[in-house]
Amino acid sequence: MTKRLDMKGIGKSFFATRALDNVNFTCVAGEVHALVGLNGAGKSTLMKILGGVYQKDEGVIEIDGAKVEIAAPSDAGDRGIAMIHQELSLINELTVAGNIFLGRELRHGATPFVNKREMARQVRAQLDRFGLTLDPNRKVADLNSGEKQIVEIIRALMSDAWLIVMDEPTSALSEEDKEMLFDFIRKMKEEGIAIIYISHHMPEIFSIAEQVTVMRDGVIVLSECTAASSEDHVIRSMTGAELDHFVKPHKEITGKTILTVENLTHPGAYEDISFNVHEGEIVVMTGLRGCGAPELAKAIFGLDGSYAGKISYFGQPLKPGRGPAQAVADGMGLVTENRDKNGILPPLSVRDNIALPYLEKSVKAGLIDGRRIDALVDKAIRDTSTKTSSPEQEIRFLSGGNKQKICFSRWLDPDLKLLILLEPTRGIDVHAKADIYRIIEDLAGRGVGILILSYEIDEVIMLADRVLTLYQGATVSEYAYPGFDKDRMLADMAGAGQGH
């Protein structure tokens, strides 16, 4: 019954680039094998070879000791290997059961009519088996990210998958949903399913994985039992050096008030919110997904004007919904939570991506001064320690962390007064995270007021001068550095700490 996967001596090159070199990787049924490494270390290449997306140049793949060829994604599926993608591949308009049975719908006898009841019953049985309380008849559009992933996994399991590859499954999940997913993973282990778990999150890895393998620059640098390993050890192997831990510098907030939010209400999103941001201050809003913070941030940036209450900027009331062009002209910046949707300009170069907000300042006699842009871009790349082969590189080929740094580098302008950051480190590796924290502190040190939305409690505590906990659109409480209490904050976020 215990199946195993053996990948031996896998090698792969892209033109002159050696992406994988003599990689050995194994997987055992009933265990979680964590695969970690910085972006670009070769994890996704290895998984794409396993999934039949790429072809290996050398090496052997064996399942239960028998050599197999995986020439196409369908081959991987036929052999019971399922990839759960970060960008989910579900159809929003169908129900949970409809998605799971997509392409192999059950029918009433020989008729062309779909037997919805039977499909829902079978899905229900599977969900029960793993102790999941999800209604098979709900539309996928109404599910949150965690539930959608569960649907994908159930779909894979019902197609007889025995090996599930999960790539950063928790990057878009709230704390609550993470717990639900981990329970599910533990149940799958009991059922004898093997899981390859790609993640940057050390605590997650050490709580659910039996084995951890670290890749760096296309080779395996570490592979051991989690029981015999440690977070520091893994991180050191990933970066090849001791990770200099980010330590928040000490500072006094003495500057003027930049932003004053008074009794801001938008029914259904947030209610009666009031707070200030001062020069050089980092204010972090936190809560569970659905706490209303993104909507609030968008109202402040002028993207949405349908609210009651008042927003003042340097003492002047702001016109509701004045639009981002006015916000930028006023010295505000925004880094959105979804880099790929509204953060980057995919076909353009790194240079063009960075330069956009600086164009007007680089115009000489009506024309853009290329040299001034080059200087600005070079400085931005240096200041954010972005790794790119050249400023002419297309941004879509950069790793998530480097893309995020570019989203930041657009706002290093000396005229910036207030920067709004939505989930600034979502889906990026530890190394890039530390860089981003440093950029944030540098900006604050220059006197820029910073308003952050973060769902990661450790990040909140590490960065904030002041923390605002939100629950279902309402402020629960406010904490000032250094009086942070992690447990109370978590209770606030879950709605348990109201009125303390």
Binding site: G40, P324, N342, L345, L367, I368, L398
Partner: protein, 326 residues
């Protein structure tokens, strides 16, 4: 493009980027076509024929330039051909009414811009699909042209009005240096102005451009107005070429323009492409049409050959892109 993984720094300069590859390929096709047609008919290289060739691509060239701007924003403009007829009609009517060529010119360009502005406002401000809106103005502008002309052509004899499209210096039509000037001006606009950068930004990711405060909705309006202005200029050239205003001028020119832009490697999804590619696309297309006439190729075959070239170039490009992405 260079390597897809960021594992090791790629080597810039070692490999040509995909657009440069495309341009070299187009140049190769142009050379092959020229040599081939030159062998089939020695007249191909005569100065007179080169003059004819260049003159025949002047109008498609102007329209394709506008179409390049639009396709860089991820849009499309099906109305340009009809707009040539409409703005020409307005120009000719203004000329006959006032007797002043400058007023005629201004009226033609303004009319072209007006159609462009309608497109731009619906597409940029109201966020309707470019295909839908310009399909409507395609019919609308042609209908208005037929009304203005009462479905009949109007003779034009004003020498100043006909100068641009009609006069040649020897074998060199004056429209050629004019078009070259327009190209230089548009290149400066696209590569050296903030507007040009905003065109790329709007086409790359309109949401990002919006959040960064670049007002992409305004950029879109101006891009369609620009395309309309170029249709107005094309109308003036067309009137000069045929010494008359024609209600059926510009028929199917939008397809020639779109074909040239696609041949030139501009992405249908926006954000990627250059004016140089469009020049090469127009030139290749023009040479093929000219050469097919010169060699007396059966018209039934001509459509087939044009279709195969377009399909071939697009197919080859896709294969190269895929190979590079692996």
């Amino acid at each position: 493009m260079t390597t897809a993984t960021a594992t090791t720094p790629s080597r810039p300069g070692f490999k040509l980027d995909s657009l440069t590859q495309r341009y070299l390929f187009l140049i190769l096709l142009i050379v092959i076509a020229s040599v081939g047609f030159g062998i089939a008919n020695e007249n191909f290289y005569s100065l007179a024929n080169i003059g004819i060739l260049l003159r025949s691509i002047a109008v498609p060239f102007l329209l394709s330039m506008g179409m390049t701007f639009i396709m860089l924003t991820g849009g499309i403009d099906l109305s340009v051909g009809s707009n040539v007829a409409f703005s020409g009609g307005v120009g000719v009517v203004a000329l006959t009414a006032t007797g002043s060529a400058p007023i005629g010119f201004a009226a033609a360009v303004a009319a072209g811009m007006a159609i462009g502005a309608i497109n731009g406002v619906f597409i940029g401000r109201l966020r309707l699909s470019a295909f839908m809106v310009t399909l409507a103005t395609y019919a609308l502008a042609r209908g208005m042209a037929l009304v203005i002309y009462n479905a009949d052509s109007i003779n034009v004899s004003d020498a100043a009005f006909l100068w641009l499209g009609g006069v040649s210096w020897g074998n060199m039509p004056v429209v050629i240096p004019f078009v070259a000037l327009v190209f230089v001006a548009l290149s400066v606009l696209l590569y050296k102005s903030t507007f040009g950068r905003d065109v790329y930004a709007a086409g790359s990711n309109i949401n990002t451009a919006f959040v960064l405060g670049r007002r992409p909705e305004r950029t879109l309006v101006w891009v369609y107005v620009l395309s309309g202005a170029l249709a107005g200029l094309s109308a003036i050239i067309t009137v000069g070429r045929v010494s008359s205003g024609q209600p059926w001028a510009g028929l199917y020119l939008e397809f020639d323009a779109i074909t040239a832009v696609i041949l030139g490697g501009t992405s249908l999804f926006g954000g990627r492409g250059r004016l140089l590619g469009t020049i090469l696309g127009v030139l290749l297309y023009g040479i093929i049409i000219n050469g097919l006439v010169l060699t007396g190729t059966n018209p039934y075959l001509q459509s087939l050959i044009k279709g195969m070239i377009l399909l071939g170039v697009v197919l080859l490009d896709t294969l190269v892109q895929r190979r590079n992405a692996q």
